[in-house]
Every structure is written in structure tokens, then in C-alpha cells.
């Protein structure tokens, strides 16, 4: 069982900053995903307009959420499927276990599902005597290593190929010990071969759902490996795990969201496999599951909807805000202590777990704004993070330094002239100091941070000065 460590954020960060393998892996994310997203977004001339549309579709849906969920449920049932509602993780786990037990299931294959991580379904199924098998290669690797995912779309991005080889040798004991596992393609071939039988012999297949379509009662999965499709096609029962905000009105609306999803996530024009599933196997079909179930989880989302953080419900889990975040790129996903890392996690986790459990996470941001710049549904992540920080202050959870700094910041922030007066000279001084070396190596109040990461030198002007000049 991977315990949540959201309350130990600071010690997690310290560990992550000196982990050499992790730092190497994070450099790969920064160059790969970030570069590819840039190319993909530039190749489609309407990309920015599509982001506006995507935002509007999600906003509209959330404003009519009860209506669309009701229509969705009716259409699932009309096509022979079942909808199950779960208020929290306990209810969701029990529903899933009951479905598995109703068909005497022994093994369960799993496609990648963040809801599955959120409710820790694997541990629960294991405790109850079932064998859950992750089939997404990254999820399979971290399952063998007993870890949580470190990225919402690249769960094993922190693991080196040597570590993958070790995990395979440890687990696949029936294979010759002297086999070579040095090259990625050898690892790939072994994983493919090992998981084949699992797909074919599984009793139940569990997938996530990127979207639920109200118009047709369909669930949608987006994958590159094809594991999700084998997971939901071969066993007799398919269970799709979703949450209330996954619903989208129509096929056209879903299509607009799909146009921004892969481009934002991996920089692909479209992922390899986008699959729309509607109900169980039809009378004359030769394959497909005999039963189709959807579990819809709340787990704190209705509270987000009622409070100040409803914009977070637009999130389509693309991972772009992680890839572009200087903090994520320095500390990786595990430091955030639960299943959702990066800026989206720093906003979502306190909402789902409660602020007491995750009070440090909203501090895990430089508020540089890069996340909002790339978010396909334009979630104002920095403002939401600030909102949590205010609440931390009010609830007196932060340590005294934070409180003190915030108090003075508030004094200045409410008086733009004063802020300007102080910020200007201080920025100029920092700029002068840093330009001597190009990068700041040390700032007294940011010790832990700058020891391992050079702080880019301020260019001698504050944002407000630049803004004024720009407007002239």
C-alpha cells in the first residue's frame, strides 16, 4: 500500500532534489513533452481558439452538470449498461468488488485510471483475494515496484531502464536468468509477452474514462498502447471508472476536447487509440463484454463545485501543467505525496483530501503562470493556488514565517504604489547581483530551493514596470 505523504511535503522535496536518477528523468520530461506540445500547438492554426471552445464546453457542462448526468445515465441504461454512483472511495471500492464477486472473478486487468489510483482499488482487490494486473506499461512497472505514479500520463517516467530490467527479473522468474534486458525493445517484448496471457485470461477488465458522453451514454478512453482496448474487450465484464465532472454533452463537444487533449499532453495530433464504448456486447456480436458498468465517483467534487474551486472541475488530466511547471520539474511527482502532482494536484488534492491533509501543496508553486498558459481548458491555476494560500493563512495552518511574509505581502499588495516603490529597487538589486554570474545561486530566504536549482536572474524590472512600458 502506498500511503499518502501529503503532510510531509517539505521532507519529500528535500529527498527529491538530491535524487540523481529522478533529476535525469525530469530533464527528459521537460525536453520531450514540452517541445512536442509546442510543435503540435503551432501546427494547428485554430489551436488557441479550440482551447477557448474547450474551456466554454467544460464551463457550460459544469453549469448544467446535474442535467447532463441524468441524461447520461438514461442513455447508458437504454443501451443495456449499468451506472453506479459512489459518494466516496469506500463506496466505489465496494461497488467494484461486488461486481467482480458476482462473476466469481479471480483476475482483473486494468487500464490506466486516475480514479483507480484515487480510490486505491488495486490494494482493495488484493486484500479481497483478487489479482489486479495493471496493463499500461508504465503502470505495470510501478505496480511491480510497489510505487505510486509520478505523472498523470507518464506514471513511470521517474524509472530508468535498468530499474525496469531489475523489476522484470524480480517478477518474471520463469524466464531464463541470463537473458539480455539492456535495450528498451527487449523490455518491451518481454512486457508484451508477459501481459498477453493476462489479457486473455482475465475475468473483469477495469478502465478509466476520459469522457462520458451524455448524448449517447458512451465512455471514452484515450490510449497509445492499445492495452485499454484489450482490457475492455476480452473479459466478460467491463467496468469504467469515472467521476462526476467527466461528462460532456455531445459527440461534437467531445471531439473538440479531443482536439486539444493529445496535443497538450504528448504533443501528438491524436493519440493512437480513442475508443467510444456504448453498452455491452450486442446480440449478434462475436466479441466484447457481456456486462458494461460505469462507476461515477464524487469524493469531494460536489464540494469543489459548491465552493471557490469549481473551475478545477474543467481539468481533462492532460498533464501539460506538470510538464511546464518549474517546481514539478525540480521535485517530480512523488514529492506531492498523493496521486495528483504538479499544479493541478496542488489545487485538486487539498480539495479532495481536505486542506489539513495537504496545506503545504499550494505553496509548491512559484506562481510563474506557465501552467495557466498551457492549460487546454484555461484553468487559472495560479489564482486557485493563491486562493488556497489565503485559506491556509486564515485557518492558521501555515508556519509563522509564511504567515509573516503573507501579511507583509498583503500590506504591499493592497497599496500598488508602495509595492512598486519597494519591489523596483529590490528587483534591480537582485538583477545586478545575479547578472554577474547569469544565475542566482543563493537567495537567503529560498535556501532549500536555490541550492539545487539556479534561479533565473530577474531582468532588472518588475512585471509592473514591464507592463507599463509595453502599454506605452
Amino acid at each position: 500500500m502506498v500511503e499518502a505523504t501529503t503532510t510531509q511535503f517539505k521532507s519529500n522535496v528535500k529527498k527529491a532534489l538530491v535524487d540523481k536518477q529522478l533529476q535525469k528523468a525530469l530533464a527528459g520530461i521537460k525536453t520531450g513533452f514540452v517541445h512536442n506540445r509546442k510543435i503540435a500547438s503551432e501546427r494547428l492554426e485554430e489551436f488557441e481558439d479550440l482551447r477557448d471552445r474547450a474551456r466554454d464546453i467544460k464551463t457550460h457542462t459544469i453549469q448544467h452538470l446535474d442535467a447532463y448526468l441524468e441524461i447520461y445515465q438514461q442513455n447508458v441504461e437504454a443501451s443495456g449498461g449499468h451506472v453506479h454512483w459512489a459518494r466516496d472511495e469506500t463506496e466505489a471500492r465496494e461497488i467494484i468488488l461486488a461486481i467482480c464477486q458476482s462473476v466469481d472473478a479471480k483476475t482483473v486487468t486494468k487500464g490506466k485510471s486516475m480514479i483507480g489510483e484515487e480510490i486505491a482499488i488495486n490494494d482493495y482487490l488484493e486484500e479481497n483475494g483478487l489479482e489486479p494486473i495493471e496493463t499500461d506499461l508504465g503502470e505495470y512497472i510501478i505496480q511491480l515496484r510497489g510505487e505510486a505514479p509520478s505523472h498523470i500520463i507518464a506514471p513511470a517516467s521517474h524509472v530508468s531502464k535498468e530499474q525496469v530490467a531489475d523489476a522484470f527479473r524480480e517478477t518474471h522468474k520463469n524466464l531464463p536468468a541470463e537473458r539480455s534486458l539492456e535495450e528498451p525493445d527487449e523490455l518491451l517484448a518481454e512486457a508484451r509477452a508477459m501481459l498477453r496471457d493476462k489479457f486473455i485470461n482475465a475475468d473483469v477488465g477495469i478502465t478509466g474514462a476520459n469522457f462520458l458522453i451524455a448524448e449517447t451514454g458512451s465512455s471514452v478512453i484515450v490510449t497509445n498502447e492499445g492495452n485499454g482496448d484489450l482490457t475492455q474487450t476480452l473479459p466478460g465484464v467491463h467496468i469504467a471508472l469515472a467521476s462526476i465532472e467527466k461528462v460532456v454533452p455531445t459527440l461534437e463537444d467531445t471531439t473538440t476536447l479531443l482536439r486539444v487533449l493529445a496535443r497538450s499532453a504528448t504533443g501528438q495530433e491524436m493519440s493512437s487509440y480513442t475508443t467510444f464504448s456504448t453498452g455491452p456486447r450486442r446480440a449478434a456480436d462475436l466479441d466484447g463484454p457481456a456486462e458494461y458498468h460505469v462507476v461515477i465517483l464524487d469524493n469531494g467534487r460536489t464540494d469543489l463545485l459548491a465552493g471557490d474551486f469549481s473551475e478545477m472541475l474543467r481539468c481533462i488530466r492532460c498533464g501539460a501543467c506538470l510538464n511546464h511547471c518549474p517546481v514539478y520539474n525540480s521535485i517530480g511527482g512523488h514529492a506531492y505525496g498523493w496521486v495528483y502532482p504538479g499544479p493541478m494536484g496542488a489545487v485538486l488534492t487539498p480539495g479532495l483530501m481536505g486542506l489539513d491533509e495537504a496545506a503545504d501543496l499550494p505553496q509548491a508553486s512559484t506562481l510563474c503562470g506557465k501552467c495557466e498558459e498551457v492549460c487546454p481548458v484555461r484553468i487559472p491555476l495560479p489564482s486557485l493556488l493563491r486562493r488556497w494560500r489565503d485559506q491556509v493563512y486564515v485557518r492558521d495552518l501555515g508556519d509563522w514565517q509564511t504567515k509573516w511574509a503573507l501579511k507583509w505581502w498583503a500590506v504591499f499588495a493592497k497599496r500598488p504604489a508602495l509595492y512598486h516603490f519597494f519591489a523596483g529597487p529590490k528587483m534591480q538589486f537582485l538583477g545586478w547581483w545575479a547578472r554577474k554570474k547569469g544565475h542566482l545561486k543563493y537567495i537567503p530566504s529560498l535556501k532549500g530551493w536555490t541550492r539545487n536549482r539556479n534561479f533565473p536572474a530577474p531582468q532588472g524590472k518588475t512585471f509592473q514596470q514591464l507592463w507599463k512600458e509595453k502599454r506605452k
Binding site: I57, L65, N75, L195, L230, F276, T278, L286
Partner: protein
């Protein structure tokens, strides 16, 4: 089951209570029903709004960019020879697990006596499969296939080599055109979609080992698309 219904009512009730601050429930239901009744078209990119012939070229370009291979033949009856040539170029046996799509029923298979075609679902032992696409979308080189009694879904995912026949007339610019075709041709009872609609853009791939892209984890390692001009 009643417990379940209560849970659903409870969650929907909480959502409703949060939304009631700004709108009323009946108005929300009416707006939602209207959007579903006539779905707004949204924004369709210009990229693929070109002549049919250019769409075919665009389709091939995008499909090849994601490591699919494409071929183009004139007549349906050229298909057996094209299949045999492709299988032999990949050092695969001249044997295929095939969909029973009516289009393939019109092919004169006796022209290629060495090619064996089996019908039915794909199983672990099948090395190559043959399916027929419902559409090809030029915007991203995406194939659309859907489940039906004659088109088992396993054909698209189990074998290492996936060969898809795409009549030229089914190449379209955007995904939206295909949704309308599905709504019209398949009918809308009880809901509007076949059990599964698959969008397939290139072969199976993963970047999960050190972010290096590799083809053929779980799904097909090769995707070969044969466009037929007259079919």
C-alpha cells in the same frame, strides 16, 4: 438497487443545490436537452477542408507520420494481390484473420489462391488481421472502425499486424462528418452508436521506458492501410 438510486439522487441533489444559486433546475434541464437535440457544430479546423483528392493525400501524409504504412489500389479485385505482396514483404505467412464485411464479400479471392482468409474473432495465434474502415479522417490520418457482428473488435487489437481497407469515398476531412454518417446510417435505437467506435491513429506505441517511443506494445506493431479507389 434502491440504495444505489439513493446514492445517485444524493449526489445529483448536492450538485443541484450548488447550481441552484445561479440557475433553476428546469431551465438547466431544458438547455441540456436542447443542446443534445441539435448539437452545436463547434469549431472545425480548416486544415482538411480541401478537395477530395487532397484529403486522400493529407490522410496518407498524417497516417505515415505516425508510422502507419499506406498503399493505394484501383479496384477491389486488386486487393488479394496487394495483401499477399504486403504480407510477403513483412515475411509473414500468407494467411489472414478477416472481418466478414460485405465489401470483402465482393472480392474475388480465387485470384490469389495462396492467400488463406479465415473469418471470425482474432485469437492469440493470429499474426495478421484484415478489417474494413468506416471512414478515414484526413485531419490527422485517423481511421474510424466500429464493432458489428461482421466486424469483431479483437481484429483491431490482438494481432501484431493490422491491415485496414479504406474505400476512397470514405475519406473525409473531419471527425464531425463521420458522427453524422454514423447517426444517419446506423440509426439511433436505442442510443445512437455501435457498441464500440474505434479511432485508430497509427500503430500501438509507448514512451513509458525512458520516454523513448517504441511501437507495438499490446496492440499492433504494424498498421497498413490500403486505399481502394473504386470500391
Amino acid at each position: 438497487m434502491s440504495v444505489q438510486n439513493n446514492t445517485g439522487a444524493d449526489i445529483l441533489g448536492k450538485i443541484g443545490a450548488a447550481l441552484d444559486k445561479d440557475s433553476d433546475k428546469a431551465a438547466r434541464a431544458a438547455t441540456a436537452a436542447a443542446r443534445i437535440e441539435s448539437p452545436p457544430k463547434n469549431l472545425i479546423p480548416n486544415r482538411a477542408q480541401v478537395s477530395p483528392e487532397d484529403q486522400v493525400q493529407l490522410f496518407r501524409d498524417w497516417a505515415e507520420e505516425v508510422s502507419a504504412t499506406t498503399d493505394r489500389i484501383e479496384h477491389l479485385d486488386d486487393l488479394p494481390a496487394a495483401l499477399a505482396a504486403y504480407l510477403s514483404s513483412q515475411n509473414l505467412p500468407s494467411e489472414i484473420k478477416s472481418s466478414d464485411d460485405p465489401l470483402l464479400g465482393r472480392v474475388d479471392w480465387t485470384r490469389q489462391p495462396t492467400l488463406t482468409r479465415h473469418l471470425g474473432v482474432a485469437i492469440e495465434a493470429d499474426q495478421a488481421s484484415l478489417a474494413v474502415a468506416f471512414a478515414g479522417i484526413a485531419e490527422t490520418g485517423t481511421l474510424v472502425l466500429h464493432a458489428a457482428p461482421e466486424n469483431p473488435t479483437t481484429l483491431n487489437f490482438l494481432p501484431e499486424t493490422h491491415i485496414v481497407v479504406l474505400p476512397r469515398s470514405r475519406v473525409t476531412g473531419d471527425y464531425e462528418t463521420t458522427w453524422n454518417r454514423l447517426r444517419n446510417e446506423i440509426g439511433s435505437e436505442p442510443s445512437s452508436l455501435p457498441r464500440v467506435v474505434n479511432w485508430i491513429t497509427g500503430p500501438s506505441r509507448t514512451g513509458d521506458i525512458e520516454q523513448k517511443i517504441q511501437l507495438g506494445i499490446h496492440g499492433p506493431r504494424r498498421l497498413h492501410i490500403i486505399i481502394i479507389d473504386e470500391a
